[in-house]
């Protein structure tokens, strides 16, 4: 909502200056977002100085002038005036400006082969006088070079953000009322021009009685024999200040009344109305051309204003071309109606129309302002355009039910924390236009018709504290006390995973929850695509089904920027359905490039599956899972390389699925056209990590460290090629957990001396007892047992 201070002062008597007014508006919830110098088109004409004027090389009567606007730039202007000379201060019009007299728009031009940017002006060209001999000579204006010659004619525009509840402040008068209430002055009485009303309104008006009728009341006035014309300057300037274009007196007056009183009006050319006005609901498919020159196809049930033959307007939204007023319009019908916000909103949304009237009606217009709107507008039309007005005809409901709210005064303190006296509350509410009756501890408050937002006592409390001032509320220091945990188990996991991965060299990223369906389907396992009905762009059209969708898009972008040794992770939702809760938190990591790229000391190698396996495994351990409970197997999914990926499960291969890790499937790498094709990743599913069942804080497991010597034994087993080394390790470990402390495979060999379907696996076993140093005999016994058990369970032989 735009207002100017002088306009405001037509309703508000105040001594406050502009700064004070702006400050107070913001304090009472009418936030001034912007103050704009409202300069008209004449501001472009600048005071300038001719530094040098020389004869044009190709024309005797022309001069080439170097013109300065006081900065370091020199503007070259070709000028025909005889008085153009060195040092003259005059008025300069730049390219793009329009010369007031000729309405000619200036362009950069070559005049007889010399470029000229803009022109130097005579008084007549600027409509200052008839003096056209030579350019203007300004005396004593040397200091003002560079400034606009014309003082700003329009007032500053204050752009106020009106919250959706304050329909009443979509008019200057409403804002003035609020300011007056807050103590900034007093609200002036509305000025009305008097006029005679001897005619009867000759056009019949009816509102159909049907379900969902959007029009409650339709006020009208017939004005005949007017002379429509350009608006007088005072009115034009107001329309300009709003950022609108003046059209004609009749249209400008209806707009003016809307912005002044928040009372939308519409003027029909009465001669173009076929007999009568019928306000009804539209039929499906009816057509209508709006004043915006758009053709609309209507749906069933929109509120339309029609005559005997066609639709004249969408009630409260937009008028139509058929009955629009022109300069030659002689007779008009002025409409001042009340349309239901819900009806207006529905029509506006379905047809995607936004007008100033629609904006106001959907927020709620004062239903009792119908007559006042007609009075003010008719008075103005008659005073500017002449003519003769009819009596007002008000069709439909004429009065609204009065709303009364009881406010117990102590409730203010209960909610706000400070008290207010009955008399202060009375004063504030009365000044806002509420009719208030005092009792000892309560107020009986009648809500004015222009405040549809006020419906219960808290609304009144808000009015009171808003005007009293939020700065009066006293701070209550928060109590430093905690009764509940800040984070729950899952939230702790989220937090820990972030730090765990960042400490492994991964950079955290946050990407959209939506992604490109073409990429997303590469990573899905056939779950249904989750489309966004109104995506912001076609490459952000689905909710992601995999954490890799965006990670891979962004990895590629970084590679394309010339970076390739990259590790990114994201922890966020992935979706498996479109219902609330069809989502889970996934920790996703992606990694590409080399280890030891261009190193003077170490050999470079590709990132491989064991890098991501290690990252996933170590992260799970850091999340609190004992490593011995992590089971790795080669179960995988389609987005990974089938031979270079696996899963991690809890407690057994069939336990809760904690993670996938592996190389990205080569087909995906090809499809996305990665520069560096060596790409690995992992996904950890936090929801599958069970919360430890601890009622009381657990101590750590007992500390057991043997003081007796430890021994190591190496074994080389020849075993089936397909047998998983991880299983072999676990198998050996289980043989005697009291003595076998650590089992680790340190070499895998296939080739010469080993049968084709076998491999040789070298395993190091650490042995140590708690109660004694193991003797050679003990060690031999354990070793023998290891060899026997492995042979029995796997068919492996010891390599000789």
């Amino acid at each position: 909502m735009i207002i100017t201070i002088p306009w405001l002062k037509e309703h508000l008597q105040t001594k406050a200056n502009e700064a004070k007014i702006i400050d107070q508006l913001t304090n009472i919830g009418l936030e001034v977002e912007n103050v704009k110098e409202n300069v008209g088109e004449l501001s472009e004409f600048k005071i300038a100085k001719i530094l040098k004027a020389e004869k044009h090389p190709n024309a005797d009567k022309l001069k080439v002038c170097d013109v300065s606007l006081g900065d370091n730039k020199i503007i070259q202007v070709v000028c025909g005036a005889s008085n153009a000379r060195d040092g003259l201060v005059t008025i300069y019009a730049p390219p793009g400006s329009i010369i007031p007299k000729t309405k000619f728009k200036l362009k950069v031009a070559k005049i007889r082969g010399v470029e000229s940017k803009g022109m130097l002006c005579s008084e007549s060209e600027l409509n200052l006088s008839d003096e056209s001999a030579g350019i203007i000579e300004l005396k004593n204006k040397e200091k003002e070079v560079g400034k606009s010659y014309f003082k700003t004619k329009l007032d500053k525009a204050l752009d106020i953000a009106i919250t959706p509840n304050r329909a009443d402040c979509l008019g200057v008068r409403g804002i003035a009322r609020d300011l007056a209430s807050s103590g900034l002055g007093s609200l002036l009485k509305l000025k009305k021009k008097s006029f005679k009303q001897n005619l009867k309104q000759p056009i019949k008006v009816s509102i159909t009685k049907e379900k969902n009728q959007g029009c409650l009341s339709f006020g009208s006035c017939y004005i005949k024999d007017i002379t429509n014309k350009e608006s007088p300057d005072w009115l034009k300037n107001k329309i300009l200040a709003l950022g609108l274009k003046p059209i004609s007196a009749v249209v400008d007056i209806t707009n003016y009344v809307m912005f002044d009183l928040n009372r939308p009006l519409h003027a029909y050319d009465a001669n173009k109305i076929n007999k009568e006005i019928i306000v009804r609901n539209s039929q499906e498919g009816e057509e209508f051309e709006g004043l915006d020159n758009e053709k609309y196809k209507l749906k069933k049930g929109m509120c339309v204003v029609t005559d005997k033959s066609s639709i004249l307007g969408l009630g409260g939204v937009i008028g139509g071309t058929k009955t629009s007023t022109e300069f030659d319009t002689k007779n008009i019908l002025l409409e001042s109606a009340y349309f239901l916000p819900s009806s207006i909103r529905k029509t506006g949304r379905e047809l995607n129309i936004n007008t100033d009237a629609k904006y106001r009606f959907e927020r709620g217009i004062d239903p009792n302002s119908i007559k006042e709107g007609l009075e003010i507008a008719t008075g103005l039309i008659i005073s500017i355009c002449g003519g003769e007005a009819s009596k007002f005809l008000i069709t439909g409901k004429t009065s609204q039910k009065k709303k009364v709210i009881d406010l117990k005064i102590e409730k203010f303190k209960d909610l706000i924390g400070i008290s207010i006296s009955i008399s202060e509350a009375y004063k504030i509410l009365s000044s806002l236009g509420f009719k208030v009756k005092k009792t000892k501890k309560a107020l009986k408050v009648e809500i004015p018709s222009w405040r549809p937002d006020v419906s219960q006592d808290v609304d009144l409390i808000e009015e009171l504290i808003r005007i009293k001032g939020f700065d009066k509320i006293q701070v209550v220091e928060p109590e430093k006390r905690r009764d509940k945990d800040t984070l729950n188990f899952k939230q702790k996991l989220f937090h820990l995973s972030q730090r765990a991965l960042a400490s492994k060299g991964y950079i955290e990223t946050v990407t959209w929850s939506f992604t490109d369906s073409n990429i997303d389907k590469q990573f899905s396992r056939g779950e249904k695509e989750i489309n966004i009905y109104n995506p912001i762009s076609s490459d952000l059209d689905v909710l992601r089904r995999s954490i890799f969708s965006n990670l891979s898009i962004h990895l590629k972008k970084n590679q394309d920027r010339g970076y390739s040794d990259l590790s990114f992770f994201e922890i966020g939702p992935v979706f498996f359905g479109k219902n609330p809760g069809d989502q889970q938190i996934v920790v996703g990591g992606i990694k590409s490039g080399l280890v030891n790229r261009r190193s003077w000391s170490d050999k470079a190698r590709n990132i491989d599956v064991f890098d991501v396996k290690s990252d996933a495994l170590r992260t799970l351990v850091e999340l609190g899972i004992d490593e011995k409970n992590l089971f790795v197997n080669d179960l995988t999914k389609s987005s990974y390389h089938p031979g270079r990926s696996g899963s991690i499960n809890l407690k057994s291969d069939k336990g809760p699925h904690l993670a996938y890790f592996g190389e990205l499937h080569p087909a995906i790498v090809k499809k996305l056209d990665f520069k560096d094709k060596n790409i690995f990743g992992f996904e950890i599913f936090l929801k599958n990590i069970p919360q430890p069942n601890k009622k009381v804080r657990q101590t750590k497991v007992n500390y057991l460290a043997s003081d007796f010597q430890k021994s190591e034994r190496d074994f080389a087993f020849v075993i089936d090629k397909t047998f998983k080394v991880g299983l072999l390790e676990k198998l050996i470990k289980k043989i005697d957990e009291n003595i076998i402390h650590k089992v680790i495979a340190f070499d895998v060999y296939e080739g010469e001396n080993i049968p084709k379907d076998k491999k040789s696996v070298a395993i190091n076993v650490t042995l140590q007892a708690l109660d004694k140093t193991l003797s050679e005999k003990d060690l031999d016994q354990v070793s023998q047992k290891i060899i026997e058990v492995v042979k029995e369970k796997t068919g492996a032989t010891i390599r000789s």
Partner: protein
């Protein structure tokens, strides 16, 4: 000159010319070997009279000790020399680069969420969450924003279905509804999370982060709201004094509603939060509307309280001098490396929020 004096002077002459361990070994053999000069003297002892023997033996032993000691010293000297030479040859250029490593980082949004959680933890708030996909009911209707309410226009909503019943939550407020429906008062929660609006330009991203706060209990007033936010802003920006302004505003789910501005000034084109003469809008808040409480069956005669909503990304931008919101979500390696946080930089109340 006695024999012993002679031996001594020969030894002295020779030991000075010893240059290597081999030389030293030769010298040792010459004097202490089987037929060494000192060995011979000991062999001769037997032929001396008892009287002479005692005196001579004493001289001889002294000489032996002295020569042995000199050999020992020479040996040490040679060894030291040898080590020094070896070390000299082993010198490498320590200015060569270190082994390459990948530096992990925490995203500024995550860092700021941790900071916020740490601050609110101190005054007893717990972190709550909710789904990103919401019903139109939880996102709007239950929050006192019925279908024809103009406030819905301010939320450019992403929908998942034609009937506009399922949507991506436009704010974290629906978690208020979920929490209050599922639990019993009092409620004291913060809700950091992803939120979505179909709006995209320099200052708007289709996804951003919000922090919701909700405190419902007996006798909670707007004074508590002011106190809570005043505490939070000071802690978050790590300044002692911040000018704060509560400005009346409107949200359908609070009444009264306010927007909060904080003071700042510009220093070298950077925003300094605190006591400057300019105002910056940082959050919206208010007393939870009785209609909202009724919608979730909270007894409004017993309970009331406040709620607030803050843009997390914007807080991060202000605190850490980040200009472009969209860059948060573009995964540019350079940007994340620059604005990201070290993983060990965990915000805590005892060590401080930031380094």
């Amino acid at each position: 000159m006695s024999d012993l004096e002679k031996i001594n002077s020969i030894f002295n002459a020779k030991i000075d010319s010893v240059k290597s361990k081999d030389d030293l070994q030769n010298l040792k053999t010459e004097f202490f070997g089987k037929n060494g000069q000192i060995t011979i003297q000991f062999k001769n002892l037997g032929s001396l009279s008892a009287e002479d023997k005692k005196e001579f033996a004493s001289h001889l032993n002294r000489l032996k000790d002295s020569l042995s000691k000199q050999i020992e010293e020479k040996n040490l000297e040679l060894e030291t020399q040898e080590i020094n030479e070896k070390l000299k040859s082993e010198k490498i250029d320590v200015t060569l680069p270190i082994r390459s490593y990948r530096q992990g980082k925490i995203h500024p949004v995550s860092q700021v969420i941790d900071e916020i959680s740490s601050i609110f933890s101190e005054i007893g708030f717990s972190v709550a969450e909710g789904p990103d996909v919401e019903t139109e009911h939880n996102n709007f209707t239950a929050l006192n924003t019925p279908e024809d309410h103009p406030a819905r226009d301010m939320h450019d909503t992403f929908y998942l279905d034609k009937n506009k019943k399922l949507l991506l939550r436009t704010h974290t407020s629906p978690v208020q509804i979920r929490t209050m429906l599922n639990e019993k008062p009092p409620f004291k929660i913060i809700v950091p999370g992803r939120t979505y609006r179909s709006d995209s330009d320099q200052t708007h991203a289709p996804m951003f982060h919000q922090l919701e706060g909700l405190h419902i209990d007996k006798n909670i007033t707007m004074g508590h709201l002011k106190g809570c936010l005043d505490y939070f802003i000071k802690e978050f920006f790590e300044v002692k004094n911040v000018r704060m302004r509560f400005r009346p505003s409107h949200f359908p789910f609070t009444e009264p509603s306010a927007e909060v501005d904080i003071g700042y000034r510009l220093e070298n084109n950077k925003i300094v939060i605190g006591e400057g003469d300019k105002w910056l809008e940082v959050l919206g808040c208010g007393m939870v509307h009785p209609n909202v409480l009724k919608n979730v069956k909270v007894d409004t005669n017993k309970y009331q309280g406040y709620a607030f909503g803050i843009g997390i990304d914007r807080l991060a931008m202000l605190k850490y001098g980040i200009n472009d919101l969209r860059a948060f979500f573009e995964t540019d390696y350079r940007w994340l490396s620059h604005f990201g946080f070290d993983p060990l930089d965990v915000p805590t109340n005892y060590r401080g929020l930031s380094k």
